[in-house]
Point group: C2
Chain length 365, copies 2
């Protein structure tokens, strides 16, 4: 079978930076090789810069973004703990499920999909929760939630943030905003294939680290002895995914060479251009103005513009197979009626906006 | 920093097949792209051939071998379930830890490190356990445990096997031997970088699948809807690690092109040659005769052959940095006194045996 190479404008994965693909080709080293340990340390340093944190325990979990979510909960939440979770999309709902499986009392605070959650609704939901959790950038709706207000007013609670779709694409200040636990994924604005989940944990949160989390694989007590060493010795926990870490190292390098701020500006510029182009073509944006993500655009598809007898899914299929452009279907109310279009990492380039809009002009009536 | 490319003769990772590194360079596809779904289906077919099973639920868990271990337990074991675990090395002990975190009553059956576990000791440990678990090839000692007898006599119990170091290197017959749940890792005899955990589950085990496992990330109820589809539709669970799956697909292709039986013969031939060469040089083999793994050799290092003032760790460091050969240190009784030498996957070649023995002749006195 020939290799297709679609432009990945779905909700993730994006196209990886060329430097990342190059890094995959590096010779595999052992997980205790001194050069690999150095590389892992550099990954930690680079992640700290991208997360804008000084948290020592900052590393890539050996699993996808969802493994990051699970690591964020199982290490800090146990039976009987009260957890307030904001839900305005799929991933907030998933956090409720994960927290409940840890035995937590979950207080779910809903906001309509497409709108941000009012931080005060989360803060008022319980007088003294163990933890407040919210998704920074909802991949299912294209909405940004406010972390800074939560961090400023959280009191004794820990603040946990899903930053899968935000990290590297929009401003995210772990320390300044008072986020205690945050995780991300590599396949979004970091421009790396899926497979790893960057995670950062504040010292404040570490004081609440469970002694024996229900997950052995994600147990931070043990993982920390490998990734940060502590007394200098590195205790083996599980075999690190070497080649994927080479890829992440290179992707973070590409991002930091560009500069965080420059990356945010680039993501904003292409997102603005796409959203303007879609509105011009009769699409209605789904996410509330003022909280729209540039890197993930959700839209209602104008039915009258679909070629006769076709559905939005037919158009997406044609975009993929005839035009070489992948976009994502809608979720929730948007299912069958809307799209989610990603402009993340290496995909966040004006030429991709132009390609998609030109392809739509070709297909739509 | 220049790239070093050591020959990886530790307990894993091994050197990947060239075809695998080539596969990493393939363009990234979306996790719902039809071509990627086809590739994932092919990975399942290839894994079934390598596991020697017809189990439909056979796929690669998105994590390392230890994630496979956790997936194998959390989906089938819950509070109060009785689990018999054989322990004759590190990984048997790890299974006890994982099972206990699921709330299981763990009955631990020990055998001395370096010797196999008597299957009857496991069968006699409890009259009606929910599950019996054992490591097929103990990476910490180089010993093979007997699965066939356990499978034949297990009765109503489920048989769970850790096949991280065995899969692809020595005979492993999931269906014929009656193994219900088995997992492996990519970085051993499959000749692929670390990062994925092949898993296979019998229909008999699926009847015991927990409705809500404590892990969301490893919940087989949900993962099965993505990897096997069932009614044809693929429900998204988490974003698959695309590039790693390309690598596994290629590694399994290399193995099956060679032929399973031919791979076993190759692993046996190089293991025999290495073990004979080490004995000739005054090393004493640690694993009991008759149950020695060819792909993982554990030896006592003859102290009198170490250069004056050096330790076994100094020799390993010199092998790595001066000769470009990585081997592993000992664990348990072997710590500081012995080595573990892997010949797995692409590393299992006679030229690597010759290189290591010649390097040792150069270093030792």
């Amino acid at each position: 079978m020939r290799h297709r190479d679609p432009v990945l404008m779905g909700p993730g994965p994006c196209n990886p930076y060329p430097e990342v693909m190059e890094a995959y080709a590096r010779p595999v080293l052992g997980h205790l090789d001194p050069d690999f340990i150095s590389l892992m340390d550099e990954v930690g340093e680079r992640l700290r810069r991208v997360f804008q944190t000084t948290n020592q325990l900052t590393f890539a979990v050996s699993g996808t973004g969802s493994a990051g979510m699970e690591a964020a909960f199982v290490n800090f939440v146990g039976p009987g703990d009260t957890v307030v979770v904001g839900v305005n999309g799929v991933f907030g709902g998933r956090m409720c499920d994960v927290a409940a499986r840890c035995g937590a009392e979950v207080i779910r605070v809903d906001a309509p999909w497409g709108t941000p959650i009012d931080p005060n609704d989360l803060l008022d939901a319980h007088p003294s929760p163990k933890l407040i959790a919210v998704v920074h950038a909802e991949t299912s709706t294209g909405v940004r939630n406010d972390l800074a207000t939560l961090g400023a007013k959280k009191g004794d609670a820990l603040l946990l943030a899903d930053c899968v779709t935000s990290l590297g694409g929009i401003d995210l200040r772990i320390d300044e905003w008072g986020v205690d636990i945050a995780y991300s994924g590599t396949q979004k604005c970091l421009g790396v294939p899926p497979g790893l989940a960057p995670l950062t944990v504040s010292d404040r949160a570490l004081a609440h680290l469970r002694e024996t989390p229900q997950s052995w694989y994600l147990d931070l007590n043990m993982i920390a002895k490998y990734v940060t060493g502590g007394d200098g010795a590195r205790a083996y926990h599980h075999t690190a995914p070497i080649s994927s870490l080479y890829g992440l190292h290179a992707g973070l390098g590409a991002l930091l060479d560009e500069g965080l701020e420059a990356s945010f500006v680039r993501h904003q510029a292409v997102g603005d251009a796409l959203q303007a182009g879609l509105v011009e073509r009769g699409f209605e944006l789904f996410a509330a103005e003022g909280n729209r993500l540039p890197q993930l655009t959700s839209v209602w598809v104008p039915e009258e513009r679909l070629p006769s007898g076709t559905t939005e899914a037919d158009v997406r299929r044609s975009l993929l197979l005839d035009y070489g452009v992948e976009i994502g279907g809608g979720l929730g109310d948007l299912a069958g009626k809307g799209w989610r279009i990603g402009l993340m990492g290496h995909t966040a380039r004006m030429r991709n906006v132009q390609l998609l809009l030109a392809s739509l002009d070709d297909i739509l009536v």
